[in-house]
Symmetry: C2
Subunit: 146 residues, 2 copies
DNA sequence: CTCGTCAGTTGGAAATTCCAACCCGCGCCC
DNA sequence: GGGCGCGGGTTGGAATTTCCAACTGACGAG
């Protein structure tokens, strides 16, 4: 069985494996080199190499040659990769509140000068997401009624 | 090596394994029974049982007895679990845009009556997250300068 | 008495991950 | 020129996880 047809599952097929999002976190923080990503995430080098490859193949990261002789590459986020920042930030906010003990260990700064915190709202009404229940209205192109 | 001290990593330690977020998706959609969750996610039953156990232990889900004789349980989202909805929605938006081919296969309805779509904004300035770069300002309680 | 439902558990095979060690092209230093 | 170190990986084998199908156990329906 393959489960429900759903973009959450599709997204997780690309970025849902063990070290993928942590590697992306590093790239978003400006840490773009293999050794540094390995050290900062704690991933083993072979697995990290595999994950970076699938992220590049999926268009989330791109590999850029920053030095010939010897050939050295770094990893940069594509538009697709940058579009994952809300997910990363959502995980961070949630981890800060419900998992991590003590004060938030890492804090990001937004371009506006303040600390970067996520506010997730319904795009239509502007109410914050999460408090109110939601229901499924379409599945596989077919409306469902309950 | 254990990597950077970070709430993203802490969050992923709880909900980052293969089927955890898909199980949570089902619960959020009102599918609360073991067999249905297994069918809708595609997870094998033993792994699903293990994941549900860790989610309950972590306080993301709670197990509720809905029938004695025979004892039957269902899974409900706690406050902590509901607080993960922005993450789920962020993954869905991203998957819709960058992974899934064709129209969004699943659509959620918000309490306001409209389709539920995520808008992720900086909590201080209200600008959408992701367009502008961010940088790390504190790490492990210590400010960093670059 | 048999079949079906629900919530799992069990056992063994298959796939993944972890870890340490290795490789290769170079630059630096003496 | 010999040795050391860096950056970006690859390799091999052991340890861990996952997958899958079958089974359990308590019921209710026919």
């Amino acid at each position: 069985m393959r489960g429900r047809e759903c973009s959450i599952a599709n997204a997780l097929a690309v970025v849902g494996e063990r070290w993928s999002l942590l590697a992306l976190r590093e790239v978003m923080l400006g840490v773009t080199r293999f050794d540094a990503i390995a050290a900062n995430t704690g991933a083993s080098r072979d697995i990290l190499a595999a994950r970076l490859r699938t992220l590049v193949d999926a268009g989330v990261l791109e590999k850029r040659l920053y030095d010939e002789h010897p050939r050295r590459y770094e990893y940069l986020a594509t538009e697709s990769g940058r579009a994952l920042q809300p997910v990363l930030l959502g995980l961070m906010e949630w981890g800060d509140r419900y998992v991590t003990q003590g004060p938030p260990p890492t804090v990001w700064e937004h371009a506006c000068g303040g600390e970067l915190h996520l506010r997730a709202v319904c795009a239509t009404c502007g109410e914050p997401v999460g408090a109110t229940p939601s229901r499924l209205v379409r599945l596989g192109g077919v409306d469902v009624d309950r």
